[in-house]
């Protein structure tokens, strides 16, 4: 009985530790990788965590206020290697899709958007065949 109880306790401790380790997504690491991909001339303004919680979260959405006469560049990096498995899509105020970083089955690092209309936009991150569901993105602007 004593051995059984010790086994149960050890198993429980292991399960808790394993669950916590699995759920961790070190977005900071991928944030730095994404920052390096930002083209010269673009000033970094925001970073975004892309943590799909091991597939439990299918979509991570952020709201942005973009300004006309400004170019925005988004760059991503993820645990699966580069932008693999990560998709960044921009929607306008009416939630109509404008464009996406996943084109013809190819995962791009991000996109460049020359904004001509000031307003609220929705930046959505989703996963396509991702194994890690983990990454980060950065946004830069240039006038």
């Amino acid at each position: 009985m004593k051995r059984f109880l010790i086994f149960v306790c050890a198993l429980f401790a292991f399960a808790v530790a394993a669950d916590s380790a699995q759920a961790q997504c070190n977005a900071e690491l991928y944030n730095n990788m994404a920052l390096k991909k930002l083209a010269p001339g673009y000033t970094f303004v925001k970073s975004y965590r892309i943590d799909g919680k091991d597939g439990k979260r299918k979509k991570i959405e952020y709201t942005c206020v973009f300004s006309k006469d400004t170019s925005y560049m988004l760059r991503m990096a993820g645990k699966d290697g580069g932008p693999t498995g990560l998709v960044a899509t921009l929607f306008d105020t009416r939630r109509s899709q404008l464009f996406t970083s996943h084109v013809n089955g190819k995962f791009f690092d991000g996109w460049t958007y020359k904004c001509t209309s000031t307003g609220i936009y929705y930046l959505s991150f989703t996963f396509e065949g991702s194994k890690s569901y983990c990454g980060a993105a950065v946004l830069g602007f240039r006038r």
């Binding site: 306790c9 925001k46 006469d69 001509t116 209309s117 000031t118 307003g119």
Partner: protein, 327 residues
């Protein structure tokens, strides 16, 4: 619960009842593992001297946080994150060809006048805008003075450890790596905001952002008066969108000290902004696929309807609200 279990454990060990003790350990372990009620990470790197003060403030803040609003924390975080960086405005101002307006910025020496969390947070925002503005104009000496004020206020709010003062100071002194300097400053402010949100002190985040926004919008008004650049006039009108978002979050914290008065001042400003219209002409984006990913040019166009009287009223109200913050 844990006290009860400890007492039980003590009693059974005293009776040398091994099995029962092990069962209780397992139960206690399970209770501890399942306890979701513990607060989020609480500034682990904050120094010990400031911890008690911070806890007091957090307790006070927690007591304040009795709002009827059903807004979720994630919604607040999203709104806070959506507020544009004042750097965008500072770049536009420089692009308009205006000289550096040193005398219009907040005096760095006033930093010691800000003694409560409310004024520290608002002025941290004001000084951070001034710091970015001075950096963009490559006024290294001024930037260093603002950097010191920012650091002092951040320390006063127990978030100074997230500000890489020494590296930023070195970059400012050398003055030859603007990109890295702006990147590091922005990253540090993001870390500060994240930490305040982790600590459940989001109201300070929105005050920092609101202070920064007021300073940047005040500068747009001043520069527009000088050069009558149409882009600045439009930019002043476009701030309607940002103000709406700031108000959404501030309203959630209206029960906190001083915030209600601040909201009332901003409501007056918002009433002028309600007259301003942002009109959008529809169009489809033109997408070009390059090796670096899609490059998209929008064909929609927004225009802002704002007249001289609106501009004058906005400028006057901004100036009065700013004076209450900095003086």
């Amino acid at each position: 619960m844990s006290l009860f279990l400890s007492f039980k454990l003590y009693k059974v060990i005293m009776r040398k009842s091994y099995k029962a003790a092990l069962w209780i350990i397992c139960l206690a372990f399970m209770f501890a593992a399942c306890d979701d009620s513990k607060p989020a990470k609480n500034g682990e790197t904050a120094n010990a001297g400031n911890e008690a003060e911070m806890q007091n403030e957090q307790q006070k803040d927690a007591d304040d946080e009795k709002s009827d609003s059903p807004m979720q924390a994630s919604v607040i975080t999203d709104i806070i994150k959506s507020i544009p960086s004042p750097l965008e405005v500072s770049f536009l101002i420089k692009e308009s060809g205006t000289s550096y307006l040193k005398n219009e910025l907040n005096d760095h020496k006033k930093v010691d006048n800000y003694t409560n969390s409310y004024s520290k947070a608002l002025n941290l925002g004001v000084y951070s805008t001034d710091l970015g503005y001075a950096n963009i104009y490559e006024k290294n000496q001024d930037a260093l003075l603002y950097l010191n004020s920012v650091k002092k206020l951040a320390d006063g709010l127990n978030i100074g450890q997230f500000f890489d003062y020494h590296t930023i100071k070195k970059l400012t002194q050398s003055g030859n790596d603007m990109d890295t300097l702006l990147r590091l400053t922005t990253t540090n402010f993001e870390d500060i905001n994240n930490e305040l949100q982790n600590q459940g002190r989001e109201h300070l985040s929105i005050l920092i952002l609101a202070g920064g926004w007021i300073e940047a919008t005040h500068l747009i008004g001043l520069v527009y008066e000088e050069n009558k650049d149409e882009k600045l006039r439009e930019k002043l009108g476009e701030q309607k969108i940002v103000l709406e978002r700031i108000m959404l979050v501030l309203d959630y914290y209206k029960n906190k000290s001083n915030i209600e008065d601040f909201i009332n001042d901003l409501k007056e400003l918002q009433s002028v902004y309600k007259r301003i219209k942002i009109i959008e002409e529809r169009g489809d984006p033109i997408i070009e696929i390059t090796d670096d990913g899609p490059v998209v040019t929008d064909t929609r166009k927004s225009t802002v309807e704002i007249n001289d009287q609106d501009v004058a009223e906005i400028k006057s109200l901004l100036s009065s609200i700013r004076s209450k913050i900095v003086d």
